[in-house]
Symmetry: none
DNA sequence: ATACATTATGCTCGATTATGCAGCTTTCCC
DNA sequence: GGGAAAGCTGCATAATCGAGCATAATGTAT
């Protein structure tokens, strides 16, 4: 029995969360995971379906019609894309690893989609991301402090870079201002670009999650070229075959969602 | 019976703390731990749930979900009191000064009530407070980084204290876990109390905003005595004349709201 | 000083809740 | 159509809850 799921209500909250992340619930798997009988999970699902949170199906449950859920999410396709990208990004994370989440709405979507039981070390300089990460009970959360650049929502200054230089990061999800296959990642803000370069230096795997409005755009300050990126997450429908050809580079794993 | 849980209020504060750390309360465990009957714990939980601090479930209680919490809080009298206190606190702030806001819901209420044109330097170690402060265009915002203690919502460790030691603070709004006229400010969490002591050392004016549920309670770790406090903000209607007499100390300005 | 009110706590007992199991029915897939 | 997997109904059990009452301690009013 998981200690954070001691009560039916907690289990049901977790199921709700799981439902939003995976889009489905499977009785047999969840029964084993939570250490209760399948019958109990089924009864939880009955409760959730009464509340209109999910729809009961043979073997478990699925999310109810897309009309429900977060209003803002449904309203915009951009949000939907970010969620897909976030889910793909989370699949790349291994338990116990040290992750850096740079500032940016895509990375905020990632931390928002992280399952609550995840066990990682999470480093960030972004205040909204740290704020969202406070809900995750099992992570070790490390925040880079310093003078906050409000347009970025986090510290970028010498103090933050100095702290950063003492850390060794397994995977870094870098925030993308602009991306092109030719020039890689570029940034609008000088200090932000400096910080991102320092960040790249401390990171093993570098993951770039690019939403389509950033694709094939260039900003003023170079951050890192395509050759420095380990993984690229993109939204499939938005790209032509020619564009995909440009990304066929050794050492770069492209994940399409 | 634990000596620091001799009174219902103390026990309830401890339960609140436990709730924030574990995300749940289990009647049977707590009854044994505190040496009282399960019924008593259940009654405590009823009180806490009335205040919107937790949600009663079969076998104990769980934290309210953030969405429900903010709504319930807004409706409750606690929020009203905190808003009054926040407005009184803001009147004490002079433009251009350097302010430290410690963690805590009262200080969160303060930053929430700050007028958007305010021009100060704001230092904090609290993530929710920094997140709220991002909306203020004219402030200089400095965030103390480090390993985040999730029950507090900010960094308390050596790194944070080291950064703090380089700063000179005009006014410090300290977060109050527990307050009594006899013992001054005390804290639940050892690290938090250490941090607060370091904070007091760097601060000129020390302001304690005490909401009524914290009044005449004592926690495990001493932070600072009454003599170290410059300004005390209290809610008037909640105090007897005798209690006010205890606070008639030279050098302490008492602000009643 | 006495009587009354308030608060904190514990106890009992019938009601409620959570869960699992057994046996039968339904659904799915080949 | 038939076997396997999943679902449902009814029942059993244990834990927990809630109301009401008793008790002790403290505070307040006469």
């Amino acid at each position: 029995m998981l200690d954070y799921a001691a009560f039916p209500k907690q289990r049901q909250l977790l199921l709700t969360e799981r439902l939003q992340i995976d889009g489905k619930l499977v009785c047999s798997e969840l029964a084993e995971e939570f250490g209760v009988s399948e019958h109990t999970i089924r009864r939880d699902i009955i409760e959730l379906s009464k509340l209109g949170i999910c729809k009961k199906v043979y073997g478990g449950a699925i999310v109810v019609s897309p009309a429900q859920g977060s209003l803002a999410e449904r309203a915009s396709k951009i949000e939907h894309e970010k969620r897909l990208i976030a889910q793909a990004a989370i699949k790349l994370i291994s338990p116990g690893s040290t992750i850096f989440l740079d500032s940016g709405t895509t990375n905020l979507a990632i931390v928002h989609s992280l399952p609550s039981e995840i066990d990682i070390t999470l480093i960030t300089n972004s205040i909204p991301i740290a704020n969202e990460a406070l809900r995750l009970p099992n992570i070790e959360l490390i925040l880079l402090g310093g003078k906050v650049t409000k347009s970025v929502g986090g510290a970028l200054n010498a103090d933050a870079q100095n702290e950063l230089s003492k850390m060794f990061i397994d995977m870094c999800f870098i925030g993308i201002c602009a991306f092109s296959p030719e020039h890689g990642i570029t940034g609008f803000n000088y200090d932000d670009a400096c910080f991102k370069r320092a960040l790249v230096k401390q990171s093993g795997q570098l993951i770039a999650a690019v939403s389509h409005e950033k694709y094939e755009t260039i900003a003023k300050h170079k951050v890192v070229g395509l050759e420095g990126i380990s993984d690229l997450i993109l939204c499939k429908e938005k790209l032509s075959r020619k564009q995909l050809g440009e990304l066929n580079i050794s050492g770069l794993a492209v994940h399409l969602v």
